[in-house]
Symmetry: C2
DNA sequence: CTGAAAGCGCTTACAG
DNA sequence: CTGAAAGCGCTTACAG
């Protein structure tokens, strides 16, 4: 058995202490960089640790000290580049704090999410960063508070009684709509997809409010499929039939990418005949042709913010719940252009 | 202090045992689903665990049993969608085994990688899936073997003395080159970027061998920048000057996406004037217009394979090192087309 | 099938 | 600044 092999030649703190002719307590203090130890003693102990190949056993330490230097991150989807960037931000901060991330994927399923949260709790994580699966109940978060498990919600929220790091979606939508309206567009649609959660709702509401404020139709909201190829096939929803639009605000850049492909297939020139505004501004936006105008939401910064909220809470458990709501920023590129007399929507009239 | 709070009302196995009027050992057997316990006893203990809100303490169990149900995954880069899909595959298998993934990002830096591996070791991971940073020395892996830390290399390898799950890059390159050659192309370039490692080398060698086998110039290999916008700006390298190509095989789909944008900017029609073949076939390939011909490498399946290799090794530490080398598969779409008399490269002659 | 006991490797008061 | 001792919550033989 390997584990036996590993166990056999494991050198413990007691071995180190003996070789260095100090007590185990002293050796422990050296590891934890306590100032109580003299410089010579410290040097001697550290030399012995080197020599013996001592490996600190977090498992033993955590049992005694009741902290694991481990945090759990639960996200609903690994494949969306948006979440990847979020994760990179979380990882940077957690890593810098000498801690380590246990990552799990809920697949946006509440039942799975529950299982995974239990698992993380059993693993003794010090805290959790959770992007709640769609349909997550408030009671879940309350339960975790009851568990005394420090938690921060990220991107989506189910309660205000708990830290949250996210995006001011309403402000982002307003920028997108205002931008298109100022270019002269009036038939502006919102293309959405995916499961319903707070970020979904905030985007829809933000779009509607922004349209209303401009005196435009707030109900021009259309759901598209989830898979990118299927989104492309759905592009006609915006350009055909009685309800034609000259511009679309997209739920995220994935939708924008799909619609962009679909409009191309329909022979419609984006940035001339039709305007498209993405949301999130992931790396692909810059690589698309024409380049995609998109509302940047800075997922990496949000990840960092969420991790910092959690570290703060670990240090000060009694802090009141805090919110970190980042203002998004419209990046104007080529996919949005001046309205040119509805070359599309009213083709028949003008043609 | 929160940790005190948590500690105070923690219910332990002993509490459960007392309430259920059994010994602690019996309660432990119930948890581990031992068949030694009678059905009634099991039911009683489980009811009490429910009632008391007992949480299994992995930390304590791992200390005694010397296994943590935790594995470490070290990847060089989170942001490339290729790695994300790999990770999704790993996660699926590890999760199904009731284990949990500790994820770290080496940033392709050997020094950081070393720090992170030490950290994982201190955390007591049962094994590690490593995509070695560029320039990783064989001695690193040897050291880990010495540590008795089960390891599988994924995508890149630095030694044959250790499990490996990866791609038959040479076969993939052959398919790409053969495809273009059969379309009539003779001036085929290879566009590469990124740090040098085994997968890089295998792709280059594979391209050269495939070209040679076709009697084509194996030295038409050109390095492009790393950032996608900069790749776009470098597209002229393939279409201008004395060494013009009519087709490019790309190191990966990121390069293909960048070149695609750059060729668009140059007014060159991909799939008509110029052929492009990507590598990896990530989701974007299907979303590009024209759709990208690409060599699929199935990162998710490779992730699953790597995780299975690791689980096997945990079960049987003395297994000989194994290799899982997946055959890639060319997906022909629209970006590659019949050579039409070098409308580009020999424009001056023919025009 | 169950109970009493030892021990995994550390940290933490408590004396000195 | 250091040493001896208790204990974190579990698992594992070992008797019964």
């Amino acid at each position: 058995m390997l584990s036996e092999g590993r166990k056999k030649n494991r050198v413990t703190l007691l071995d180190v202490a003996r070789h260095a002719s100090v007590s185990r307590a002293t050796a422990s203090l050296v590891i934890r960089k306590s100032p109580l130890v003299s410089t010579e003693t410290r040097a001697k102990v550290e030399a012995v640790m080197q020599e013996l190949g001592y490996v600190y056993n977090m498992g033993a330490a955590r049992l005694r000290a009741d902290r694991s230097l481990t945090i759990g991150v639960v996200i609903p989807n690994l494949v969306n580049p948006f979440f990847t960037e979020l994760l990179a931000g979380i990882d940077r901060v957690i890593d810098a704090a000498g801690m380590v991330v246990i990552l799990v994927n809920s697949g946006d399923l509440v039942a799975r999410q529950e299982t995974l949260l239990t698992r993380m709790r059993e693993h003794g994580v010090d805290g959790i960063i959770l992007c709640p699966a769609a349909e997550t109940e408030m009671s879940l978060v309350e339960k975790m508070v009851e568990w005394d498990l420090p938690l921060v919600q990220v991107l989506r929220r189910v309660t205000d009684d708990c830290d949250y790091a996210g995006v001011d979606y309403a402000f982002g939508m307003r920028q997108a709509v205002d931008h298109l309206a100022e270019l002269g567009h009036r038939d502006i649609a919102f293309a959405l997809h995916g499961p319903v959660h707070s970020a979904y709702q905030e985007r829809v509401d933000g779009f509607r409010d922004a349209m209303q404020a401009r005196g435009l139709d707030p109900e021009n909201v259309i759901r598209v499929p989830h898979q990118i190829a299927a989104i492309a096939e759905a592009a006609g929803l915006f350009t055909e039939g009685s309800r034609r639009s000259s511009a679309v605000v997209c739920f995220n850049d994935v939708v924008a990418l799909g619609l962009s492909a679909g409009l191309y297939d329909l022979g419609i020139s984006i940035g001339r005949d039709f305007s498209l505004v993405g949301f999130d501004d992931v790396a692909d936006a810059e690589a698309m042709r024409p380049r995609l105008t998109s509302v940047a939401t800075f997922p990496e910064a949000i990840g960092e913010g969420a991790a910092k909220l959690l570290l703060d809470r670990l240090a000060q458990p009694d802090l009141a719940p805090r919110k970190l709501v980042k203002a998004p920023q419209l990046h104007i590129r080529q996919s949005s252009a001046i309205w040119r007399g509805s070359s599309l929507g009213r083709q028949q009239e003008s043609g």
